[in-house]
């Protein structure tokens, strides 16, 4: 996809709509504005790979991550609540009975009681933000409208995956492990979601210009 003013307008509109749908501006205006600008910069990076766009993108990404960690950090990540402590105590018995001396030593007990609970919570946090129902509220018609373009956009994205995009995704995915299941975890993905929707819209528009949809499907099946 090449950069064009139409695409720029489209990404701005998609971002604004999504940010309003997610209630971002109402929750944290600064965060919403930063997300908006980051979405535009990600699009520019993807289409033009401009040095200054990249530089500002990374600065804003850093700011977004810091704000997320400040406001959405999972305070229970390194602590156990009463229920978790009870369960851990029970599991200590199970492991001791099942594994005997393999478990009943410093390394085994340390792994099961200290490291493993943190690892599991971190893992749960990592993936908790990757629920598509968070990004697409099916009760909202605009969200529903975006879904097929998102799927088409994933296909289009596979043709070109920039290093910046990969770095961005790894950064926010890792950050997500430290965030609780609040809004900040999935909001970090908004620039990516918006870009993919735009890619899908762009692909659909291109295809409809060159071929009527039915003719395209017919040709694909024929091949």
């Amino acid at each position: 996809m090449l950069h064009s003013k139409y695409n720029l307008v489209a990404i701005s509109l998609i971002t604004l709509i999504n940010l309003f749908l997610y209630g971002t501006f109402q929750s944290n205006l600064l965060f919403g504005i930063l997300l908006f600008v980051t979405s535009i910069l990600l699009y520019l990076n993807y289409t033009k790979n401009n040095f200054y766009a990249n530089l500002f993108f990374f600065i804003l990404l850093g700011a977004l991550i810091l704000i997320s960690l400040k406001n959405g950090f999972d305070n229970n990540l390194f602590r156990l609540n009463a229920l978790e402590s009870d369960r851990l105590a029970s599991r200590h018995e199970y492991f001791a009975n099942e594994f005997g001396r393999v478990y009943k030593n410093k390394i085994g007990i340390g792994y099961a009681n200290s490291f493993r609970p943190i690892l599991i919570k971190f893992n749960t946090n990592l993936f908790s933000h990757l629920d598509f129902n968070l990004f697409f509220d099916v009760k909202n018609i605009i969200s529903l409208f975006f879904i097929p373009f998102f799927i088409l956009g994933i296909y289009n994205l596979s043709k070109k995956i920039s290093k910046t995009l990969v770095f961005y995704l790894i950064s926010i995915f890792t950050t997500g492990g430290f965030l609780s299941t609040g809004i900040y975890g999935y909001l970090l993905y908004v620039p990516f979601i918006n870009l993919v929707i735009l890619l899908g819209l762009s692909q659909a528009f291109k295809e409809s210009k060159n071929y009527p949809l039915f003719a395209k499907v017919k040709q694909y099946v024929k091949n």
């Binding site: 199970y94 990757l130 099916v138 009760k139 596979s158």
Partner: protein, 540 residues
């Protein structure tokens, strides 16, 4: 050693690993014997000895079971292990474990059928290995799960149908096997009916010269649907759907069609969300073990890589087949109310496994040193198997064994000491207690049918009771009737804490006879002897 011999040896090793992971301690991991499992098992035993199920219905089309119906194929095929191995938990689960191994073999065959000559064997082996070690594939092979048999049958048909693209004479057999798959589990009913016409639409050119095979295939598929047609009007055919779908829910302010579309979309999205595929979603029935997702978390990276690779080769047969099958495999589950129920999407999980295998293959190819790549993946596989063992063999065993009625298996041993007494077991929370005991004791199916059949109006019906009274030998299982049971002489009342509290035992002058403890040494079931007082009306 030639490349082909290395491939065969590797495949044999993978199959051996899959057999070990599926059959090792099959009767005790998971502990217990869920009511749905024992329903299949007892019916298989009943058919093998009398030709009818526990209600006296001869060779049923669907098996009536605890508020619903179970598809028939699993039950009929379980006759074989029960005849050979007796009425054991192992015999009941054997077919599911065996289906799991068949799925591994079919994975290899399907992938090499779909892939170009250069890559096919390596990719096939990786795919087979991913399916071998994936939590969903192991867990659902280790219980009586008809959907596992449904998956194996569907994949068998799938393999034949892909093969028919080169040799159309396989098409009729493929469709016949696919028709059998619709009798194995409910998801395959919808999947097959959607898949066949779309497959023909995609690939119709390849069958232009062989229309007779298409017609024969469709005819054979139609033949396999006759049993369904025979019970279509009874309500039994759609009973399970009525039980689990949201179609009868109140749509609120929305028009019904809008409500249904939104619900379908919401459920569809939940099934493709990485949060449900690669992280813990809970360990209730139909899901996997504690602290584990249907896939190990580290498989998310190869999944993404595999997905990108797949989208880069859209003209490939591999891509076309996957794109056709993937969304269809989610339709039936998306029509049901549970937000994520992996038992209903095994074909989709299988497809995700293939994509993961593709990603692993690409990573393998990009690492120059074979030693490094084997060490990394070898280490990850060993770690994964250990993680699965901790989750399934230890945590699942201790934290969910009561859900599987493990204590009621142990209870059977205790009850043999009281053959001279009347035993009343409370079945308020576990409807399968009576059937579990009947199965383990190989209780005569004719006698059980004489007890259960009068409790039904019609065998095939939309109205199917969950709670039934089982009465055999000196045992009766039903909810307690306190005024009668506590006043009954020479009677043992058996129940959990909710059935008989400490206060109730004191108030009714009951004497504790025995306790059945769980794996955590906690008393789960207690047996009390009644001591009817003067206030009781003598009834025994």
């Amino acid at each position: 050693m030639s490349k082909i011999n290395k491939t065969h040896l590797s495949l044999v090793l993978i199959i051996v690993l899959s057999i070990f992971l599926r059959f090792y301690k099959l009767d005790t991991i998971p502990m217990g014997f869920h009511q749905d499992e024992v329903s299949q098992a007892y019916n298989a035993f009943a058919i093998s000895t009398t030709g009818h199920d526990r209600y006296g219905e001869y060779f049923p089309i669907l098996f009536r079971a605890f508020g619903s119906y179970q598809p028939p194929i699993y039950t009929y095929l379980t006759i074989i292990p029960i005849l050979l191995l007796g009425n054991t938990v192992f015999a009941a689960r054997f077919l599911s474990a065996f289906s799991g191994v068949i799925v591994v073999i079919l994975t290899y065959l399907i992938v090499i059928e779909l892939t170009e000559r250069k890559h096919k064997h390596t990719l096939g082996l990786i795919a087979a290995l991913v399916v071998t070690i994936s939590p969903w594939a192991i867990q659902f092979s280790r219980r009586v799960v008809e959907s596992n048999l449904g998956l194996a049958t569907f994949l068998g048909a799938f393999y034949l149908i892909i093969h028919s693209l080169k040799s159309p004479r396989f098409f009729p057999v493929a469709l016949f096997v696919m028709g059998i798959a619709t009798q194995a589990y409910y998801s395959e009913r919808i999947l097959s009916i959607l898949f066949i016409p779309l497959f023909l639409l995609f690939f119709w050119r390849r069958y232009l010269q062989n229309k007779s095979y298409i017609l024969l295939g469709l005819f054979l598929f139609g033949l396999t649907q006759i049993p369904h047609l025979l019970i279509l009007s009874t309500g039994a055919y759609a009973r399970r759907f009525a039980q689990v779908s949201y179609f009868n829910n109140e749509p609120g302010d929305l028009p019904r069609i809008v409500y249904l579309t939104l619900e379908f979309t919401k459920h569809f999205l939940s099934y493709i969300s990485p949060s449900n595929l690669f992280a813990d979603t809970g360990s209730e029935l139909g899901r996997v073990s504690p602290d584990l997702g249907v896939f190990y978390s580290w498989l998310f990276i190869p999944f993404l890589i595999g997905l990108v690779c797949l989208f880069k080769h859209t003209n490939n047969l591999f891509f076309k087949i996957i794109v056709l099958l993937a969304p269809l495999s989610l339709v039936s589950a998306s029509l049901t109310g549970d937000l994520f129920y992996p038992l209903r999407i095994l074909e989709f999980l299988w497809i995700v496994s293939i994509i993961i295998a593709l990603g692993i293959y690409i990573i393998f190819q990009s690492i120059r040193s074979r030693l490094v790549s084997f060490s990394i993946f070898g280490g990850l596989i060993v770690y994964s198997i250990i993680a699965f063992y901790i989750s399934h063999a230890v945590l699942f065993k201790h934290e969910t064994n009561e859900f599987f009625g493990k204590s009621y298996i142990d209870l059977n041993t205790h009850l043999k000491r009281f053959n001279d007494k009347k035993i009343v077991i409370d079945s308020q929370r576990d409807f399968g207690i009576g059937l579990r005991i009947a199965y383990l004791r190989a209780y005569n199916a004719d006698k059980l049918a004489a007890i259960l059949r009068p409790q039904l109006k019609n065998y095939y019906s939309a109205d199917v009771a969950m709670q039934e009274i089982y009465r055999f030998d000196n045992i009766i299982t039903r909810p307690f009737i306190w005024e009668i049971d506590s006043c009954s002489k020479n009677t043992v009342m058996v129940g959990d804490d909710l059935a008989i509290s400490e206060k109730q035992s004191k108030d009714n002058n009951l004497t504790l006879l025995f306790e059945v403890k769980d794996t955590n040494n906690k008393a789960i079931i207690r047996g009390y002897h009644t001591n009817p007082g003067s206030g009781c009306q003598q009834i025994f």
